[in-house]
């Protein structure tokens, strides 16, 4: 099992390096540079040249790449080209917002999805199942962006219950913090829940039909134990996979939701920095996001070993 985990970790490090390199060269292949975006309409050619030199953009690409790799390994992230803030600060301020939204969003999503999926599977073709299916269908078809705008109008403008602009840090109290991210979290959580619900339902239906479930009935295992111990444990494997992959949906959704609720999270930082060709910020933000993905996938892989002995033992022989 340890060899399996070690292999996954080594694999993750390689993926990260690949991402870093791709991002570095990919960004510079996009037409347009940061200097013009910064200086705007009034820029003189002299000012453009001077700024390029100051930012080191006049160096050959391989030299820039080696410098940058060195900086990354020593955790020297540099400064934003546009606002001159430290990239470390920008990302450190943005990340908690996005991760708060994502974490609460996932929690809300799972709290909705798992029961809904179970209800759908156990009361198949009953009204409750139809309700869950229609709900899930709506969730899948409505992007977070749209859900966010609807929530803002209903809970912000009409009911005036919750703020719809900005983020209150956790240090200012749990309740204000929670209030400021509840709507964005619901907006990213609902589409996430929809995907997981559908997976939960179909996986559980499949296991409920399996031969060993009939055996369990035959040997007199009670309904509750049958469902939660025998069926759920097997049905959860594809659900965990999907829940992990769908995290991409949550982080992707948070880009647009942050825009709707005017929260300067990672998503907005990323999009703005790409549009402004703010290379240092884009690179670090992408590395952080992909780092989270790689880590979550690693975690999912390791979770398999816990819930599925076949992987645990198979891994030892790999």
């Amino acid at each position: 099992m340890w060899r399996y985990i070690l292999k996954r970790v080594a694999h993750s490090v390689f993926v990260m390096w690949l991402v870093a390199t791709t991002v570095f060269f990919g960004l510079r292949a996009i037409p347009g540079g940061p200097v013009r975006a910064m200086l705007g309409q009034e820029a003189t050619p002299e000012a453009v040249a001077a700024l390029r030199e100051r930012l080191g953009l006049d160096q050959p690409l391989p030299v820039q790449y080696v410098d940058w790799m060195g900086d990354m390994l020593t955790l020297e992230f540099g400064r934003s080209i546009v606002s001159s803030e430290r990239v470390g600060t920008i990302v450190a301020q943005a990340a908690p917002k996005t991760f708060s939204i994502a974490a609460i969003g996932v929690a809300i999503g799972l709290l909705v999805a798992i029961p809904a999926g179970v209800v759908g599977a156990t009361r198949r073709n009953e009204p409750a199942d139809y309700a869950a299916t229609v709900g899930a269908f709506l969730g899948v078809s409505m992007p977070s962006f749209f859900v966010g705008i609807l929530l803002a109008i209903v809970f912000g403008v009409w009911l005036d219950w919750l703020p719809i602009v900005g983020y209150t840090p956790l240090s200012e109290g749990v309740v204000p913090w929670f209030g400021s991210i509840l709507l964005p979290a619901v907006a990213v959580g609902l589409p996430y829940a929809a995907g997981v619900t559908r997976m939960m339902r179909s996986a559980l239906l499949e296991t409920l039909d399996a031969a060993y479930m009939r055996t369990a009935v035959a040997k007199g295992v009670g309904g509750r134990v049958r469902l939660y111990k025998h069926a759920m444990q097997n049905a959860l494997i594809p659900v965990v996979t999907v829940a992990g992959i769908q995290l991409a949906l949550v982080l992707g959704g948070s880009v647009t939701v942050e825009l709707v609720f005017s929260i300067q999270g990672l998503g907005r930082v990323l999009v703005n920095s790409i549009l402004e060709r703010n290379y240092p910020v884009t690179q670090v933000a992408i590395l952080l996001v992909s780092g989270v993905f790689v880590f979550m996938n690693l975690l999912v892989d390791i979770t398999y070993t816990a819930i599925d002995p076949r992987i645990r033992y198979g891994g030892e022989n790999a």
């Binding site: 975006a37 050619p45 002299e46 943005a94 912000g156 703005n272």
Partner: protein
């Protein structure tokens, strides 16, 4: 006003009277503004309203109501929540600011040598008094004593010298405004004691006082040498130290800019109460159009510095929100790159201009929140604006098609470069040109690519919709767009006469003479058609009804006289 010649004596401080100011602003191209914010709705406002069938007149009325709404008694206190229609406020270092929305903020943190009053008379800001000598080429400023920067250090004449020297020697974008100043160390800026400073220009510069004001005059908005050296220029751009009514308490770029009232701010209201009235302003960048409007309606913000054009009707319909509307001091047009065929031919350019129904364009592209333009000079600058501009570009589709056919350019196909923010205008343009038989495609790029492609060193585009976003004096954008080597001469326009007239008008202190020169210049531009002139966009902001005391100077968002009613 028998004579519009402004004498040195009339121009001298401490307060330029309203009559002289009107002339002065007029000379600088701000005449329309004086009329507009004067409370009674002067000539300029009337002219603007009359020519704008689309612009809502109650917007104008509301803004004048607000201007006269001065708070009384104990109105001090409260924190204004403001939304800024941008992703982030990246730079607040005045001479480096290239974005109008940023200097709307900076004008609340910094002071200029002079500033514009609520009724748009020019008065001293950091200057108590000044005299104008040498036929308008020399300005002697007597500075206010006892003014301090937000960090407590004293403001002196040396700060003026440092600021101007920095603007010029660091080749900042704003340096062009002072291009005719003599070398700073060789007579350009002469410091005489702590509280007197003299500026010497090579030649009379008609709009000089305006360029030295807070807000539009970013070239001499006084910065603190001590603070810049202590925190570094990079940090200063984010959390600057000035002498203005508000100090930066905290700035988390992209999330929140917290401004606190500066307790030692030098200015008071007429009753001697210290300004600003507010305890502070919190500015949140809100880049998503529907979000800024929702936030205003829900009360999350009380002031929006811009109203997205597609949301104007939502804002005017909301019960607790007032729309602030003023004629825009800007223009835009269809720029045709003369290094590309067929746009090298004036006949072709004029033919294309004649295919464009500007009234229709304004309706489609800007939801009617703009005036159709016949030339680059806008109605807000009433002293030089005229209704009867030459009609070389007037809508005449058959004539236009004929011109194109004669030039062998009928059915020409080309691409229209645009960014997302101008996409709607681009689509309206394409629709009009294509229905007139041309074959136009839209090419949408990001703004960084856009500036790269249009840059003089590349000129990699066919046509694009571009113009001036906010120049209170027409000369500023015309100077940059149409001089042979002008920095914004994207279309490679080369005309000796225009080039020479641009130089000539700068030295004309006589308003009528200058207006005549500028009109002659405008006539040449309309005939030559480097741009097909399209529109002047209205300046739109919005605030909730509890906000009082705001004066809507077009393009400015000054909060020092704002108060909140409960």
């Amino acid at each position: 006003m028998a004579s519009d010649q402004i004498s040195d004596e009339e121009l001298s401080g401490p307060v330029v009277d309203r009559r002289t100011t009107t002339k002065l602003l007029a000379a600088a191209g701000l005449g329309g503004l004086a009329g507009c914010a004067g409370g009674g709705g002067g000539d300029a406002t009337t002219a603007a309203s009359e020519t704008s069938e689309a612009s809502s007149t109650d917007g104008n009325e509301e803004s004048t109501d607000v201007a006269t709404d001065t708070p009384s008694g104990d109105v001090r206190g409260g924190r204004l929540q403001a939304g800024w229609f941008t992703g982030s406020i990246d730079n607040l270092d005045p001479p480096y600011i290239g974005v109008g929305q940023y200097f709307q903020v900076a004008a609340n943190v910094f002071s200029g040598l002079v500033t514009l009053n609520e009724d748009l008379t020019v008065r001293g800001d950091l200057a108590n008094d000044w005299t104008v000598e040498n036929d308008g080429a020399t300005f002697v400023f007597d500075l206010r004593e006892g003014v301090t920067f937000h960090d407590g250090s004293a403001f002196t004449a040396e700060d003026v010298r440092y600021t101007i020297d920095r603007t010029i020697s660091q080749e900042t974008p704003a340096a062009a405004k002072l291009s005719s100043l003599q070398p700073v160390d060789d007579g350009g800026v002469v410091v005489d004691g702590d509280y007197s400073v003299t500026l010497n220009f090579e030649e009379p510069l008609a709009p000089a006082l305006i360029y030295l004001s807070r807000g539009p005059g970013r070239a001499a908005t006084i910065v603190s040498q001590e603070a810049i050296e202590e925190m570094g220029a990079e940090q200063y751009a984010v959390e600057p130290v000035g002498t203005g009514p508000f100090e930066v308490a905290e700035h988390s770029v992209g999330s929140e800019l917290v401004l606190d009232a500066y307790d030692d701010y030098f200015e008071t209201d007429e009753e001697g109460t210290a300004l600003p009235y507010l305890d502070g302003v919190t500015i949140t960048p809100i880049p998503e159009p529907s979000s800024i409007v929702n936030a205003l309606r829900s009360g999350d913000i009380q002031f929006a510095n811009l109203v997205p054009l597609q949301n104007v009707s939502q804002v005017s319909d909301a019960s607790e929100v007032d729309l602030l509307q003023a004629p825009g001091v800007n223009w835009n047009g269809l720029a045709m790159n003369q290094t590309r065929e067929p746009f090298g031919s004036r006949q072709v350019r004029r033919g294309i201009a004649k295919l464009i129904d500007t009234e229709q364009f304004v309706e489609t592209a800007y939801f009617g929140n703009a005036l159709a333009a016949a030339g680059p000079i806008n109605a807000a600058t009433a002293w030089v604006y005229r209704e009867d501009k030459p009609d070389d570009q007037a809508y005449a589709p058959e004539e236009g098609k004929q011109l194109l056919e004669d030039a062998g350019a009928a059915g020409a196909s080309f691409s229209l470069l645009t960014t997302e923010s101008d996409l709607r205008a681009a689509q309206a343009m394409r629709q009009q040109l294509n229905s007139a038989g041309l074959d136009v495609e839209i090419e949408q790029v990001t703004s960084s690519t856009y500036w790269d492609r249009t840059d003089k060193s590349n000129r990699d585009f066919d046509v694009t919709v571009i113009g001036s976003v906010g120049d209170p004096d027409p000369e500023q954008s015309l100077w940059n767009f149409y001089r042979k080597d002008g920095p914004w001469n994207y279309v490679d326009y080369q005309n000796d006469e225009v080039h020479q007239l641009l130089g000539e008008q700068r030295s004309q202190l006589d308003r009528d003479a200058r207006a005549e020169t500028l009109q002659e210049l405008e006539g040449l531009l309309i005939a030559d058609t480097p741009h097909a002139y399209l529109s002047h966009q209205d300046d739109l902001a919005a605030m909730r009804t509890e906000v009082g005391g705001f004066t809507h100077v077009p393009y400015m968002r000054n909060f020092h006289t704002v108060s909140l009613d409960e």
